[in-house]
Symmetry: C2
Subunit: 212 residues, 2 copies
């Protein structure tokens, strides 16, 4: 069975998945990289060639990002800064070899032909509902799971449509005060999921939603 | 030194300290008692005459409610449902022997003479700023700490004014979707505090802010 999964999605204690003022040079707006320091500190992120890093619960969760994933769905706001669709050369914010290594479906009203990158990532551009996008991504995933990659609006839409089977949300103990909220309009979500919270010595809390 | 402390203040995962639709029969609106089940399950809440209950981290935190406290400050919305000030007989929602056992200062534009209850609780009614109210409560506390008792608006105002020395916030894994938010307008609060998060087997996460 191909699951729809959220992995390593970080929010502030006040619920913002990205800050205000996103731009070419500030992918997460005024949040900077503060939502992801916990991940950058893991052995998984640093990789085999850079020994050290945290090897505990943060690392255990972080490394669930890749295994079993056959495709990703992301929002237009994750693929690029506001206005990227006016730049015909824009190929995403990750350089020539993006860290996805699967087909990636970008939800946008401004579709364009697919872009094949190095390392197995191909960006496809879809103007579709969450359910339609998930069906398309599942076909491309060849029986593997589909990662719902963010940003917050996309994850919220998929949660609201009850399309997510498993969500790993990381609550970072900072207050951003402004930006895009993850939780808006999701009253009662917990009834459909088993929710588990686990704090890490790093200060973040891993919250998992697993469909009942 | 007399500290200003928040103890056992519960919010939903989406940040609401009380639900929508507060009334005489629904002190927390549509939240009901879901924000406080973790506390009702503790040995501390159940008391010596009702053995059983959780004896772990939830209980350890919960019992910090009373010791060392010499006064409480609460908002008008905690003292009673909307419109309580039009009822001259209203004496709060806790019966003849409220669980405070100290002077309690109710912040309200509708002041009235103090009400002396059984068990050491006296309700005083103050139309004052947070800083003024804290000064008054500290005098009444006789060198002990002052508990900032809620609701969310009052705690937010005291946090925004940086009047809180220690805050114990309990994040409950439910999504209320609507109500009164705790965290609004507190961008960067973490810079002035040491923040610690500890998850409990009950599912809640205890987050403490201790002034640096």
């Amino acid at each position: 069975m191909s699951l729809a999964r959220v992995q390593n999605f970080s929010i502030s204690l006040d619920g913002f998945g990205t800050g205000e003022g996103q731009s070419h040079d500030a992918h997460f707006g005024h949040a900077g990289d503060r939502l992801h320091q916990w991940m950058f500190a893991t052995r998984w992120w640093r990789g085999h060639d850079d020994p050290g890093g945290s090897g505990g619960i943060d690392n255990a969760f972080a490394q669930l990002f890749d295994p079993g994933i056959g495709a990703e769905i992301m929002g237009a706001g994750k693929f690029g800064h506001p206005g990227w669709h006016e730049d015909p050369q824009w190929q995403g914010a990750w350089g020539p070899n993006p860290p996805f290594h699967t087909p990636v479906f970008v939800l946008t009203h401004h579709t364009r032909p697919p872009i094949e990158m190095e390392g197995g990532t191909t960006f496809h551009f879809l103007d579709a509902s969450p359910a339609e996008a998930l069906e398309t991504a599942r076909e491309a995933a060849g029986g593997k799971d589909v990662r719902i990659g963010g940003g917050p609006t996309v994850i919220r839409d998929f949660l609201a449509a009850r399309l997510i089977d498993h969500a790993h949300i990381v609550v970072v103990p900072i207050l951003l005060g402004r930006g895009v909220r993850l939780w808006d309009g999701l009253e009662g979500l917990e009834k459909d999921y088993q929710v588990e919270a686990t704090s890490s010595p790093s200060g973040v809390t891993h919250v998992t939603f697993t469909r009942r």
